[in-house]
Symmetry: C2
Subunit: 584 residues, 2 copies
Amino acid sequence: MKKTNILQKIHGPADVKGCSMDELKILSEEIRQALIRRVTVTGGHMGSNLGFVEATVALHYVFDSPRDKFVFDVSHQSYTHKILTGRKEGFTEPEKYYAFSGYTTPSESEHDFFKIGHTSTSISLATGLAKGRDLKGGRENIIAVIGDGSMSGGEALEGLNNAAMLNSNLIILFNDNEMSIAKNQGGMYENFRQLRETGGKAENNFFKSFGLDYYYVEEGNEVETLISAFEKVKDTKRPTVVHIHTLKGKGLDWAMQDKEAGHWAMPAAFDLAAFAKMERYETLTADFLLKKMESDPTVIAVSAATPGATGLTQEFRAKAGKQFVDVGIAEEHAVAMISGIAKNGGKPVFEVFSSFLQRTYDQLSQDLAMNKNAATILVFSSGIGGGDCTHNGMYDIALIGSIPNIIGLAPATREEYLAALEWSVEQKNHPVVIRVPKVVISDGKTIAFDDESAVKGKIVKKGSKIAILGLGDALPLAKQAAEALDETVGVNVTVVNPMCFTTLDKDLLDELKKDHDLIATVEDGILDGGFGQKIAAYYGADPVKVLNFGGAKRFNDLVPAADIAVGNHLTAELIAEDIKNHMK
Amino acid sequence: MKKTNILQKIHGPADVKGCSMDELKILSEEIRQALIRRVTVTGGHMGSNLGFVEATVALHYVFDSPRDKFVFDVSHQSYTHKILTGRKEGFTEPEKYYAFSGYTTPSESEHDFFKIGHTSTSISLATGLAKGRDLKGGRENIIAVIGDGSMSGGEALEGLNNAAMLNSNLIILFNDNEMSIAKNQGGMYENFRQLRETGGKAENNFFKSFGLDYYYVEEGNEVETLISAFEKVKDTKRPTVVHIHTLKGKGLDWAMQDKEAGHWAMPAAFDLAAFAKMERYETLTADFLLKKMESDPTVIAVSAATPGATGLTQEFRAKAGKQFVDVGIAEEHAVAMISGIAKNGGKPVFEVFSSFLQRTYDQLSQDLAMNKNAATILVFSSGIGGGDCTHNGMYDIALIGSIPNIIGLAPATREEYLAALEWSVEQKNHPVVIRVPKVVISDGKTIAFDDESAVKGKIVKKGSKIAILGLGDALPLAKQAAEALDETVGVNVTVVNPMCFTTLDKDLLDELKKDHDLIATVEDGILDGGFGQKIAAYYGADPVKVLNFGGAKRFNDLVPAADIAVGNHLTAELIAEDIKNHMK
């Protein structure tokens, strides 16, 4: 038997069903090698996919997709599913490596039911599919696939509790690879360990305590064992958990050895050496915090499962000791917890990705802002960006902008960022959200903020007639647009760094309107509900014209960042042109 | 011993500690009678407070508040705590019945640590207090009090999982009265039942499976038993659950018999007969749904623990059968689930309070909107209103306004509401959020919407120079302001019902600017990020003036609605005056 002849003949799930057990084993190994080759080049979720090859093969062997419906949590483990459902070339043909999303995407295939990129949603979505089926009188199997890391998220736990109330078919395939992105956090993980060590027979069973039927499969990377386990639960009339034990990163030494690093592989073209030398806000922040911690035992850094990606490296964590806490995937808990820490005398700094902060609107409002506790939240990966629409960071300004009491700052330079951070950590009066810029720009001027100066806009360049307000990361663009106008129109354009995006610097705005006819705002975020619209409303009854530049309200999926910029007129030339047209 | 002499001498926790066991029993009964008298007059959370009298007395007897810190979930059971911590007169002196908030409020007392009114937050907040304590090297006890209803919320479950990681003192007092607001929902409640029936020795223990220490106390309304249980766990060095079994509504026959009704008592002055006769959107909706369900088995009504308050009465639920589902306190799950139901052919209608929809920003965005599934969400109790700041409904327009793909409608009349609902349930292309108006206004014109007309603004009165856009509930106010201007300024003011608050009717706006100099927007919601700011931004570069009327960004706590209206210029006279001043 030739080693590569099985994958070659797989064009859809029916071909998987036609394989013998031996062929399925070979197929799994071929898929694993294809994944390693492809993800090494493109980057992507390496560890989670390598661990879930056999289970995916077994799922498609036993169940009948798309009649039977799979819902993949985060869907960062769905590469094998894509290979088996007509999208093989995205993993085997280098010229098509970028043809498909890294997540399930209904527009790609009838085998994908949801666009998914956030964690902990699969059980609830699958429960909905099951309810829909029951209303129509259908009989298909609904299968939610969820990893152990995702299980700590509130939505998943609400889902477990409610799934148990279905008096009908729902299979929750619990893919336990003993890892979240970083180490798992929380009491449930001790229970999962006990379940693994006892072959599912531990004294207390987490899943049974939620009222679910339960099966344990130790050999989560053996396709034949998985097939017989899945056949046993197929067409079950009860919500049932199948707990399988898999090996994250299986087949790739470095990913198995450092599972945190192996979670997400950088593309081969990525210049790690250059990256390591680059000054980055992640490192600046970690250094700042470690220095603070040395002299102040009440400073504490908080992460929700993404410490490494926000600069809280394993080295940082070792040094910080008890002054670091990872809550796992539990952003809601994190925001409430930092409110409590601040209330009881601590100085918490929560580092979070913009897109995941979306989980916490109510906690930001009720647990934190309403109580005015002095916690700091650092928002990473803000901005319109390109990439997958599930991870877009363009909503945070609007999200935070409608919550009273929170001070939202968007520093533009290294010095402003560090001054904002220092001020925020030491002040006692406000919850503060700082939008961390993406590229470090330094003007060398050491500055310090106090309660008053932190929220004031700064005039970067004083001119007249036209003013451009460039918020945070958008300040360089505002400057470039001003330069373009200076040259072509021959006016001296004012440039302002507004700094605070949650309340307006009315003194400055009143000053500006005296000798400016047009005020433009530029922000790296959605227009609707954003900073610019507050400015437009403030000047609503004044003769001064206002133009807002920012992101249109639209989910941009895999649109190149440059195209999004042009589409939104977020280039210096297009901004200058629009302004020029309105000055006529 | 005189029956009323104990409560008289209680001025703070120290006085509780000075009581004998017999006196504590009398005290508990005196408090219970005071609660019944007071809540019967004022309205409020009756059942939860009556069940938690003895436990609160025992807490203050055993622990040393405010050094030891209590965090009450929802804090709707904190009345006895208020009585014992210097706020007795709010419950014993009729003229002071309205002096204190119905929730814990730090500005009232050093014994309250957080303003709390949403569910499922206590464990995370308390974990934060414990972390803060540990950073400072403190030794106080931290006690979270949480009911069984609140335990199903994602934030509480994230909290449980993380609380277990504390290697220090945290006591979770689990107040199990076998009820949420309505019946509890979910698999965990079967486990709680088993724990109650076995005296805490069931085969699987929900709390132990989260890694927490656990004690069971059956006699949750016996003060002496509770004291000895609390003394056992005081100063524990491990996160520990004390599961107590209490009787919701204890001491009040009607509240014990109908626990759902007894959860929240209406004030004595409330005219139930008039209320029953009133035409209300809750009833209109329930009738609409039942009629739909008769002919269409795929229609399903969804609630998250508040069916009664949104008109999905016990009678409705009995009639709807499988076409109704209560997910308990689990709003995140609800939104993901309705996305799944819609994806698999169902027609879900989720009824939710504005304030609780805040829990679901990310689910609205990722699970629902990104997938464009045709689910309907009906938002009740929207608007600036008065009352407690924790339940304010003024944020929903801004919240939803920044999420792509969702169509948000704000009908103003009975006919528009029913047309919007009919259209939403039957269309297949959009997630739709309908802001349910508060007072039924009928113009008798039967109408129907289609995909195009549903989102179009409607000119209510055609004039010139000045136009007022009154969104949904604010339309009557817009009309009154227009009338006031018609009389005093002598112009014929245009009045517009914008209907859709998530996208702008640009044709209409372009038409308006041709013959209007000033356009005012009026909305019953926060200004920041709201509908009016979108209008101001749209006209930013036009000469037309824009004035936005709505709620300032501020937590209004127990401010009378009329004062809030005046403060925000949300009266016909003040709107007319502002407009007049800007027309000069």
